[in-house]
Subunit: 306 residues, 2 copies
């Protein structure tokens, strides 16, 4: 009998927390204060959307769960590093994240900087762990590094900063989000898929690859939920309160940042989120029942309240 | 006939500049301002000590030069990212680096942060380039990521920050430098070595490894020149002027940072640098003539004037 979705979620979230604990340096290892701050940033909070996507995609392609634990931990470390740096005074200067003081508020600005830097390194250390087959590490690293860098997440941050106070078109807004959040969500799906598949194309001489049809389907899925995720974020920024979000609500409007709500309005944004969910579901059709968790996660992304 | 050392240096520095240009995203690629700032930080400056070490170690172990170009570019990107973040207001707040304004002064603080973040990602992208055999990428990434993170360079930065104004023992000072600068210098040597060696131990099923005796010898060499490099840095901080250094001189003393000169005095620091050079030379004896460039680089590290 298939486990229900909430049981599956609980199990994956629990595995993820244990994997993060395992793949982060111990708090009593020197330098202790840095390691304590890294663990403060990562553990015990967050929706873990990327680890969930990584596990769901891996399950669709038959990946071993210990490899998925490592891949999911790595992508979450990149996500958390980006939040820690994003919260710094020179960026969004935010004091509250995941319901507790941000790292630079709890520690200091320099520690916030170093926590982010060290979490990025640790993500790549994690992708080279024994749980990931040696022949696949290069492909996983290339995927995550490209998604994190200047043509991915960091590039999206740069565009975001440059667009404060500007009137963006919907296309420009989409380009920004495709990099800022979309690239890492897509990487989460791809990393899971890269942990699976047959052992065949995975020898040392050939680049590891997902079958092209699977790759296209998963990318279409990831693009749809990536945008849906951002649209819902923008909706929640104006409809939810800070306590529910675990971060400061109304921040984008206050900072005069362009959002889907500011460009399309609230009702059209809600319609867009639903239509993107339908796109995501359609993209998964070739996978049939194997894509159950990916389908359910698309629903979760659109229906979430925080 | 063997090329003379200065001819070798010129050739490697030229290769390194071209490799960095090749492995950095083009300046006209979006987001342009970020890519322009990354190139501003990396290109046209710096002693390139780590690329030189990487190439010299690779030559000692017969590595293909195009693999060394990629590995050298990757380790230099990590080094430059650390300089860019180190110069930020929340860290050393330095305005001058490599003879020109630091990235956050030339651009802005947020761009300095993102340039460093994106350079770290780009280093790992570079280690997965076609020039690096697929079977070796995991080992190279693990080496560089461990050397960069909280148990390496970033950890050393954290200890450095925590020790401003404190009286450190020589042992504590060495521990700090072993992480802050030593780990990446050692990684430069190891990356070069990992690009070489026979293809034998390099299949997908087994971790890539340098022969244990070679590894011990290279590590002893790297440890000696790593410390020598720092001792000479501390000497130059009090004896050279800012124009020669290309960065602010006298900074450590002004910041009340513990240095070899403040702990041992100037003359004993000079003796220590010489004795570390002798250690480095001795470590290379098993390699014979193959270690010519490594030997000459040890001399360069100790005799440099900036």
């Amino acid at each position: 009998m298939t486990q229900d979705f909430s049981g599956w979620m609980t199990a994956v979230l629990d595995r993820t927390e244990r994997a993060l604990d395992h793949y982060l340096p111990a708090a009593d290892r020197a330098p202790q204060r840095l390691h304590e701050a890294m663990r403060y940033a990562v553990l015990g909070g967050g929706k873990r959307v990327r680890p969930l996507l990584c596990h769901a995609a891996g399950e669709a392609l038959g990946a071993p769960v210990d490899a998925l634990d490592a891949a999911a931990a790595a992508v979450e470390m990149i996500h958390v590093y980006s939040l820690v740096h994003d919260d710094l005074p020179s960026m969004d200067n935010d004091a509250m994240r995941r319901g507790k003081p941000t790292v630079h508020v709890q520690y200091d600005d320099a520690t916030g900087l170093l926590v982010g830097d060290a979490l990025q390194s640790q993500a790549f250390v994690t992708l080279c762990a024994p749980a990931i087959p040696a022949a696949r590490r290069g492909a996983l690293v290339a995927e995550l590094a490209n998604a994190s860098g200047s043509i991915g997440m960091a590039g999206g941050q740069a565009i975001d900063l440059a667009s404060v106070g500007l009137k963006l078109s919907r296309e420009q807004l989409e380009t920004m989000h495709r990099l800022k959040t979309g690239a890492l969500l897509r990487a989460a799906v791809r990393l899971g898929a890269l942990c699976g598949g047959s052992a065949a194309g995975h020898d040392a001489a050939h680049a590891v690859a997902i079958a092209p049809a699977d790759q296209r389907a998963l990318d279409a899925y990831a693009d749809a939920i990536g945008l849906a995720f951002q649209v819902v974020d923008d909706i929640l920024d104006v409809t939810a309160d800070s306590a529910t979000l675990g971060k400061t609500a109304g921040k984008d409007a206050a900072a005069d940042k362009p959002t889907y709500v500011s460009i399309l309005g609230l009702e059209a944004s809600r319609e867009l989120a639903k239509s993107l969910r339908a796109d995501a579901h359609r993209a998964l059709e070739p996978f049939g029942a194997r894509a159950l968790r990916l389908t359910q996660l698309a629903d979760l992304v659109v229906e979430r309240a925080y």
